[in-house]
Symmetry: C2
Protein backbone atom coordinates (compact mmCIF):
# COMPACT_ATOMS: atom_id res chain seq x y z
CA UNK A 1 0.00 0.00 0.00
CA UNK A 2 1.34 3.47 -0.85
CA UNK A 3 2.17 5.80 2.02
CA UNK A 4 -0.70 8.16 2.80
CA UNK A 5 0.05 11.74 1.77
CA UNK A 6 -0.02 14.19 4.69
CA UNK A 7 -3.37 15.78 5.47
CA UNK A 8 -3.86 19.50 5.06
CA UNK A 9 -3.79 19.82 8.88
CA UNK A 10 -0.46 17.97 9.04
CA UNK A 11 0.95 20.23 6.30
CA UNK A 12 -0.19 23.31 8.19
CA UNK A 13 1.29 22.09 11.46
CA UNK A 14 4.62 21.30 9.81
CA UNK A 15 4.63 24.70 8.15
CA UNK A 16 3.88 26.47 11.43
CA UNK A 17 6.75 24.66 13.17
CA UNK A 18 9.16 25.55 10.36
CA UNK A 19 8.09 29.20 10.39
CA UNK A 20 8.38 29.39 14.22
CA UNK A 21 11.97 28.21 13.85
CA UNK A 22 12.64 30.79 11.12
CA UNK A 23 11.15 33.56 13.20
CA UNK A 24 13.23 32.59 16.25
CA UNK A 25 16.38 32.64 14.12
CA UNK A 26 15.41 36.01 12.71
CA UNK A 27 14.65 37.44 16.15
CA UNK A 28 18.09 36.38 17.35
CA UNK A 29 19.74 38.08 14.39
CA UNK A 30 17.69 41.25 14.81
CA UNK A 31 18.48 41.43 18.53
CA UNK A 32 22.18 41.62 17.67
CA UNK A 33 21.57 44.60 15.36
CA UNK A 34 21.37 47.53 17.73
CA UNK A 35 23.39 50.27 16.10
CA UNK A 36 21.89 53.10 14.09
CA UNK A 37 24.15 55.03 11.79
CA UNK A 38 24.07 56.99 8.61
CA UNK A 39 24.82 54.68 5.72
CA UNK A 40 26.93 55.20 2.64
CA UNK A 41 24.93 53.33 0.01
CA UNK A 42 26.06 52.53 -3.54
CA UNK A 43 23.82 51.33 -6.39
CA UNK A 44 25.92 50.22 -9.31
CA UNK A 45 25.97 47.67 -12.15
CA UNK A 46 24.73 47.64 -15.71
CA UNK A 47 21.16 46.75 -14.85
CA UNK A 48 18.26 49.11 -14.41
CA UNK A 49 16.89 50.34 -11.10
CA UNK A 50 19.91 52.17 -9.67
CA UNK A 51 18.27 55.60 -9.69
CA UNK A 52 14.76 54.15 -9.22
CA UNK A 53 15.83 52.37 -6.03
CA UNK A 54 17.35 55.60 -4.70
CA UNK A 55 14.08 57.40 -5.48
CA UNK A 56 12.18 54.66 -3.64
CA UNK A 57 14.34 55.31 -0.56
CA UNK A 58 13.63 59.04 -0.90
CA UNK A 59 9.91 58.26 -0.89
CA UNK A 60 10.32 56.20 2.29
CA UNK A 61 12.34 58.93 3.96
CA UNK A 62 9.73 61.55 3.05
CA UNK A 63 7.05 59.29 4.52
CA UNK A 64 8.98 59.25 7.79
CA UNK A 65 9.17 63.04 7.88
CA UNK A 66 12.86 63.19 7.01
CA UNK A 67 14.42 65.86 4.82
CA UNK A 68 16.19 64.76 1.67
CA UNK A 69 18.43 66.40 -0.91
CA UNK A 70 18.65 64.94 -4.43
CA UNK A 71 21.38 66.07 -6.83
CA UNK A 72 21.42 64.63 -10.35
CA UNK A 73 24.87 64.79 -11.90
CA UNK A 74 24.11 63.95 -15.51
CA UNK A 75 20.40 64.06 -16.10
CA UNK A 76 19.61 67.75 -15.84
CA UNK A 77 18.65 68.10 -19.48
CA UNK A 78 16.05 65.33 -19.31
CA UNK A 79 12.47 65.66 -18.24
CA UNK A 80 11.92 63.50 -15.19
CA UNK A 81 8.65 62.27 -13.75
CA UNK A 82 10.00 62.20 -10.20
CA UNK A 83 10.44 65.97 -10.13
CA UNK A 84 6.67 66.58 -10.23
CA UNK A 85 6.16 64.28 -7.25
CA UNK A 86 8.94 65.73 -5.12
CA UNK A 87 7.63 69.22 -5.77
CA UNK A 88 4.57 68.18 -3.76
CA UNK A 89 6.85 68.04 -0.70
CA UNK A 90 8.78 71.34 -0.91
CA UNK A 91 9.49 71.37 2.83
CA UNK A 92 11.16 67.98 2.69
CA UNK A 93 12.89 67.55 -0.66
CA UNK A 94 15.36 69.72 -2.50
CA UNK A 95 15.73 68.38 -6.01
CA UNK A 96 18.57 69.69 -8.13
CA UNK A 97 18.92 68.41 -11.67
CA UNK A 98 22.22 70.28 -12.03
CA UNK A 99 23.89 68.18 -14.67
CA UNK A 100 23.89 69.31 -18.28
CA UNK A 101 22.58 66.01 -19.62
CA UNK A 102 24.51 62.94 -20.58
CA UNK A 103 28.02 63.72 -21.71
CA UNK A 104 27.45 62.42 -25.23
CA UNK A 105 24.88 65.18 -25.66
CA UNK A 106 27.06 68.11 -24.62
CA UNK A 107 30.35 67.06 -26.26
CA UNK A 108 32.02 69.74 -24.17
CA UNK A 109 34.42 68.34 -21.60
CA UNK A 110 35.21 71.65 -19.88
CA UNK A 111 31.52 72.48 -19.45
CA UNK A 112 30.87 68.97 -18.11
CA UNK A 113 33.65 69.35 -15.54
CA UNK A 114 32.27 72.70 -14.42
CA UNK A 115 28.75 71.22 -14.12
CA UNK A 116 30.11 68.28 -12.11
CA UNK A 117 31.91 70.69 -9.78
CA UNK A 118 28.73 72.74 -9.22
CA UNK A 119 26.71 69.59 -8.49
CA UNK A 120 29.39 68.28 -6.14
CA UNK A 121 29.51 71.54 -4.17
CA UNK A 122 25.74 71.18 -3.69
CA UNK A 123 26.21 67.61 -2.43
CA UNK A 124 28.83 68.86 0.04
CA UNK A 125 26.49 71.60 1.24
CA UNK A 126 23.66 69.06 1.75
CA UNK A 127 25.95 66.66 3.62
CA UNK A 128 27.01 69.47 5.95
CA UNK A 129 23.42 70.67 6.53
CA UNK A 130 22.24 69.19 9.86
CA UNK A 131 18.58 69.37 8.75
CA UNK A 132 19.13 66.97 5.85
CA UNK A 133 18.89 63.27 6.77
CA UNK A 134 19.54 61.76 3.33
CA UNK A 135 21.51 62.92 0.30
CA UNK A 136 21.27 61.30 -3.13
CA UNK A 137 24.20 61.86 -5.51
CA UNK A 138 22.59 60.45 -8.63
CA UNK A 139 25.02 59.25 -11.34
CA UNK A 140 28.02 60.51 -9.38
CA UNK A 141 29.78 57.27 -10.45
CA UNK A 142 29.59 58.36 -14.11
CA UNK A 143 31.27 61.64 -13.28
CA UNK A 144 34.00 59.80 -11.35
CA UNK A 145 34.43 57.39 -14.24
CA UNK A 146 35.23 60.31 -16.57
CA UNK A 147 37.59 61.84 -13.96
CA UNK A 148 35.47 64.98 -13.85
CA UNK A 149 36.00 65.12 -10.07
CA UNK A 150 39.01 63.97 -8.02
CA UNK A 151 38.11 60.62 -6.43
CA UNK A 152 40.21 61.39 -3.34
CA UNK A 153 38.23 64.53 -2.62
CA UNK A 154 34.89 62.75 -3.07
CA UNK A 155 35.90 59.85 -0.81
CA UNK A 156 37.23 62.21 1.87
CA UNK A 157 33.90 64.07 2.03
CA UNK A 158 31.75 60.93 1.94
CA UNK A 159 33.66 59.10 4.65
CA UNK A 160 33.86 62.18 6.92
CA UNK A 161 30.09 62.80 6.71
CA UNK A 162 28.11 63.37 9.96
CA UNK A 163 27.38 60.13 11.80
CA UNK A 164 23.64 59.92 11.11
CA UNK A 165 23.72 61.10 7.49
CA UNK A 166 22.62 58.67 4.77
CA UNK A 167 24.28 59.21 1.38
CA UNK A 168 23.22 57.26 -1.72
CA UNK A 169 25.54 57.23 -4.73
CA UNK A 170 24.29 55.75 -8.02
CA UNK A 171 25.72 54.96 -11.44
CA UNK A 172 27.45 52.10 -13.19
CA UNK A 173 31.17 51.48 -12.76
CA UNK A 174 31.42 52.53 -9.12
CA UNK A 175 35.13 52.93 -8.27
CA UNK A 176 36.54 50.07 -6.19
CA UNK A 177 37.60 52.51 -3.45
CA UNK A 178 34.01 53.78 -3.13
CA UNK A 179 32.67 50.23 -2.82
CA UNK A 180 35.36 49.64 -0.19
CA UNK A 181 34.22 52.71 1.77
CA UNK A 182 30.48 51.99 1.50
CA UNK A 183 28.23 50.27 4.05
CA UNK A 184 25.64 48.91 1.64
CA UNK A 185 26.38 48.08 -1.98
CA UNK A 186 23.94 46.61 -4.47
CA UNK A 187 24.83 45.67 -8.01
CA UNK A 188 21.93 45.83 -10.44
CA UNK A 189 22.53 43.09 -12.98
CA UNK A 190 20.85 43.15 -16.36
CA UNK A 191 19.10 39.87 -17.03
CA UNK A 192 16.85 40.98 -19.88
CA UNK A 193 16.14 44.37 -21.47
CA UNK A 194 13.25 45.31 -23.79
CA UNK A 195 15.52 47.64 -25.83
CA UNK A 196 16.78 44.45 -27.42
CA UNK A 197 13.26 43.80 -28.71
CA UNK A 198 12.91 47.26 -30.28
CA UNK A 199 10.90 48.80 -27.47
CA UNK A 200 11.71 52.44 -26.80
CA UNK A 201 12.20 54.27 -23.50
CA UNK A 202 8.82 55.01 -21.96
CA UNK A 203 7.46 57.45 -19.35
CA UNK A 204 7.13 55.93 -15.90
CA UNK A 205 9.80 53.35 -16.66
CA UNK A 206 12.95 55.06 -17.91
CA UNK A 207 12.14 58.68 -17.08
CA UNK B 1 63.30 65.15 -25.09
CA UNK B 2 60.10 63.62 -23.68
CA UNK B 3 56.96 63.91 -25.77
CA UNK B 4 54.88 66.91 -24.80
CA UNK B 5 51.64 65.98 -23.06
CA UNK B 6 48.49 67.12 -24.85
CA UNK B 7 47.24 70.60 -24.05
CA UNK B 8 43.90 71.08 -22.36
CA UNK B 9 42.49 72.26 -25.72
CA UNK B 10 43.70 69.09 -27.43
CA UNK B 11 42.16 66.97 -24.65
CA UNK B 12 38.84 68.80 -25.03
CA UNK B 13 38.83 68.41 -28.82
CA UNK B 14 39.59 64.71 -28.57
CA UNK B 15 36.84 64.30 -25.98
CA UNK B 16 34.30 66.16 -28.15
CA UNK B 17 35.12 63.91 -31.14
CA UNK B 18 34.73 60.77 -29.02
CA UNK B 19 31.44 61.97 -27.57
CA UNK B 20 30.09 62.93 -31.02
CA UNK B 21 30.78 59.37 -32.11
CA UNK B 22 29.05 57.98 -29.02
CA UNK B 23 26.04 60.18 -29.56
CA UNK B 24 25.75 59.16 -33.21
CA UNK B 25 25.86 55.49 -32.20
CA UNK B 26 23.25 56.12 -29.55
CA UNK B 27 20.99 58.03 -31.96
CA UNK B 28 21.14 55.11 -34.39
CA UNK B 29 20.14 52.69 -31.65
CA UNK B 30 17.32 54.93 -30.40
CA UNK B 31 15.96 55.39 -33.94
CA UNK B 32 15.49 51.63 -34.19
CA UNK B 33 13.42 51.60 -30.98
CA UNK B 34 10.00 52.68 -32.09
CA UNK B 35 7.60 50.36 -30.36
CA UNK B 36 5.71 51.27 -27.19
CA UNK B 37 4.22 48.47 -25.16
CA UNK B 38 3.32 47.63 -21.64
CA UNK B 39 6.23 45.85 -20.00
CA UNK B 40 6.31 42.89 -17.67
CA UNK B 41 9.15 43.85 -15.32
CA UNK B 42 10.76 41.60 -12.71
CA UNK B 43 13.05 42.72 -9.88
CA UNK B 44 14.65 39.71 -8.25
CA UNK B 45 17.88 38.64 -6.53
CA UNK B 46 19.14 38.65 -2.94
CA UNK B 47 20.27 42.28 -2.99
CA UNK B 48 18.34 45.27 -1.75
CA UNK B 49 16.42 47.69 -3.95
CA UNK B 50 13.81 45.39 -5.53
CA UNK B 51 10.82 47.09 -3.91
CA UNK B 52 12.56 50.48 -3.77
CA UNK B 53 13.17 50.45 -7.54
CA UNK B 54 9.50 49.59 -8.13
CA UNK B 55 8.50 52.51 -5.89
CA UNK B 56 10.82 54.78 -7.87
CA UNK B 57 9.01 53.77 -11.06
CA UNK B 58 5.69 54.49 -9.35
CA UNK B 59 6.97 57.97 -8.53
CA UNK B 60 7.93 58.53 -12.17
CA UNK B 61 4.56 57.28 -13.38
CA UNK B 62 2.73 59.58 -10.95
CA UNK B 63 4.82 62.48 -12.22
CA UNK B 64 3.63 61.72 -15.74
CA UNK B 65 -0.01 61.74 -14.66
CA UNK B 66 -0.42 57.97 -14.90
CA UNK B 67 -2.55 55.91 -12.54
CA UNK B 68 -0.85 53.18 -10.56
CA UNK B 69 -1.96 50.31 -8.36
CA UNK B 70 0.39 48.88 -5.74
CA UNK B 71 -0.38 45.59 -4.01
CA UNK B 72 2.00 44.34 -1.33
CA UNK B 73 1.80 40.60 -0.89
CA UNK B 74 3.75 40.08 2.30
CA UNK B 75 4.39 43.38 3.98
CA UNK B 76 0.95 44.41 5.20
CA UNK B 77 1.83 44.14 8.85
CA UNK B 78 4.79 46.50 8.56
CA UNK B 79 4.73 50.25 8.74
CA UNK B 80 5.91 51.67 5.42
CA UNK B 81 7.12 55.16 4.70
CA UNK B 82 5.94 55.05 1.09
CA UNK B 83 2.29 54.83 2.14
CA UNK B 84 2.32 58.39 3.53
CA UNK B 85 3.68 59.73 0.25
CA UNK B 86 1.29 57.86 -2.01
CA UNK B 87 -1.64 59.07 0.10
CA UNK B 88 -0.79 62.56 -1.17
CA UNK B 89 -1.89 61.38 -4.66
CA UNK B 90 -5.22 59.65 -3.95
CA UNK B 91 -6.44 60.20 -7.52
CA UNK B 92 -3.43 58.39 -8.97
CA UNK B 93 -2.33 55.68 -6.58
CA UNK B 94 -4.20 52.86 -4.97
CA UNK B 95 -1.97 51.30 -2.34
CA UNK B 96 -3.00 48.00 -0.84
CA UNK B 97 -0.82 46.47 1.82
CA UNK B 98 -2.95 43.33 1.79
CA UNK B 99 -0.43 40.80 2.99
CA UNK B 100 -0.44 39.67 6.58
CA UNK B 101 3.26 40.27 7.09
CA UNK B 102 6.17 37.97 6.42
CA UNK B 103 5.25 34.36 6.72
CA UNK B 104 7.57 33.72 9.66
CA UNK B 105 5.45 36.15 11.64
CA UNK B 106 2.09 34.56 11.00
CA UNK B 107 3.04 30.87 11.16
CA UNK B 108 -0.33 30.11 9.67
CA UNK B 109 -0.13 28.62 6.18
CA UNK B 110 -3.86 28.56 5.50
CA UNK B 111 -4.23 32.24 6.46
CA UNK B 112 -1.21 33.12 4.28
CA UNK B 113 -2.72 31.33 1.30
CA UNK B 114 -6.02 33.15 1.79
CA UNK B 115 -4.19 36.50 2.06
CA UNK B 116 -2.20 35.73 -1.12
CA UNK B 117 -5.42 34.92 -2.95
CA UNK B 118 -7.06 38.20 -1.84
CA UNK B 119 -4.02 40.20 -2.95
CA UNK B 120 -3.86 38.36 -6.28
CA UNK B 121 -7.54 39.03 -6.99
CA UNK B 122 -6.78 42.72 -6.45
CA UNK B 123 -3.83 42.52 -8.90
CA UNK B 124 -6.12 40.90 -11.46
CA UNK B 125 -8.70 43.64 -10.95
CA UNK B 126 -6.04 46.36 -11.43
CA UNK B 127 -4.66 44.69 -14.57
CA UNK B 128 -8.16 44.56 -16.05
CA UNK B 129 -8.92 48.21 -15.14
CA UNK B 130 -8.30 50.32 -18.28
CA UNK B 131 -7.62 53.44 -16.16
CA UNK B 132 -4.60 51.86 -14.48
CA UNK B 133 -1.33 52.20 -16.43
CA UNK B 134 1.01 50.42 -14.01
CA UNK B 135 0.51 47.62 -11.49
CA UNK B 136 3.08 46.66 -8.85
CA UNK B 137 2.80 43.15 -7.39
CA UNK B 138 5.29 43.60 -4.56
CA UNK B 139 6.84 40.38 -3.24
CA UNK B 140 4.64 38.22 -5.45
CA UNK B 141 7.73 36.07 -6.05
CA UNK B 142 7.82 35.12 -2.36
CA UNK B 143 4.22 33.95 -2.53
CA UNK B 144 4.99 31.91 -5.66
CA UNK B 145 8.05 30.44 -3.95
CA UNK B 146 5.85 29.08 -1.16
CA UNK B 147 3.31 27.78 -3.69
CA UNK B 148 0.61 29.97 -2.17
CA UNK B 149 -0.70 30.68 -5.68
CA UNK B 150 -0.67 28.45 -8.79
CA UNK B 151 2.19 29.65 -11.02
CA UNK B 152 0.25 28.71 -14.17
CA UNK B 153 -2.65 30.96 -13.23
CA UNK B 154 -0.34 33.87 -12.43
CA UNK B 155 1.58 33.52 -15.69
CA UNK B 156 -1.62 33.26 -17.72
CA UNK B 157 -2.94 36.54 -16.30
CA UNK B 158 0.38 38.40 -16.60
CA UNK B 159 1.04 37.39 -20.19
CA UNK B 160 -2.55 38.07 -21.29
CA UNK B 161 -2.53 41.59 -19.82
CA UNK B 162 -3.73 44.54 -21.96
CA UNK B 163 -1.07 45.67 -24.43
CA UNK B 164 -0.10 48.97 -22.81
CA UNK B 165 -0.19 47.78 -19.19
CA UNK B 166 3.07 47.82 -17.20
CA UNK B 167 3.28 45.19 -14.46
CA UNK B 168 6.19 45.08 -12.00
CA UNK B 169 6.75 41.92 -9.97
CA UNK B 170 9.28 41.96 -7.13
CA UNK B 171 10.83 39.47 -4.71
CA UNK B 172 13.79 37.13 -4.58
CA UNK B 173 13.69 33.73 -6.26
CA UNK B 174 11.60 34.71 -9.27
CA UNK B 175 10.41 31.51 -10.98
CA UNK B 176 12.29 30.71 -14.18
CA UNK B 177 9.05 30.70 -16.18
CA UNK B 178 8.29 34.25 -15.01
CA UNK B 179 11.75 35.46 -16.05
CA UNK B 180 11.13 33.76 -19.39
CA UNK B 181 7.83 35.61 -19.83
CA UNK B 182 9.15 39.02 -18.71
CA UNK B 183 10.37 41.89 -20.92
CA UNK B 184 12.74 43.50 -18.43
CA UNK B 185 14.47 41.58 -15.66
CA UNK B 186 16.94 43.01 -13.17
CA UNK B 187 18.73 40.97 -10.56
CA UNK B 188 19.72 42.91 -7.47
CA UNK B 189 22.98 41.40 -6.25
CA UNK B 190 24.14 41.89 -2.69
CA UNK B 191 27.71 43.18 -2.64
CA UNK B 192 27.84 44.45 0.94
CA UNK B 193 25.21 44.75 3.68
CA UNK B 194 25.41 46.77 6.92
CA UNK B 195 23.50 44.09 8.85
CA UNK B 196 26.79 42.25 8.88
CA UNK B 197 28.29 45.12 10.87
CA UNK B 198 25.55 45.11 13.51
CA UNK B 199 23.55 47.99 12.04
CA UNK B 200 19.80 47.63 12.38
CA UNK B 201 17.01 48.29 9.86
CA UNK B 202 16.36 52.03 9.71
CA UNK B 203 13.50 54.26 8.55
CA UNK B 204 13.97 55.62 5.04
CA UNK B 205 16.24 52.73 4.13
CA UNK B 206 14.52 49.43 4.87
CA UNK B 207 10.99 50.64 5.55
Amino acid sequence: MPEASPSSEEQDARHAAKMRKKQAARDTILASKTREQGLLIVHTGKGKGKTSAALGMVVRAIGHGMKVGVVQFVKGAMHTGEKAVFEAFPQQVTFQPMGQGFTWNTQDRSADIAAARTAWEEVKRLIADPDIAMVVADELNIVLRYDYLPLDEVLAVLTARPEMKHVIVTGRNAPEALIEAADLVTEMTLVKHPFRAGVKAQPGIEF
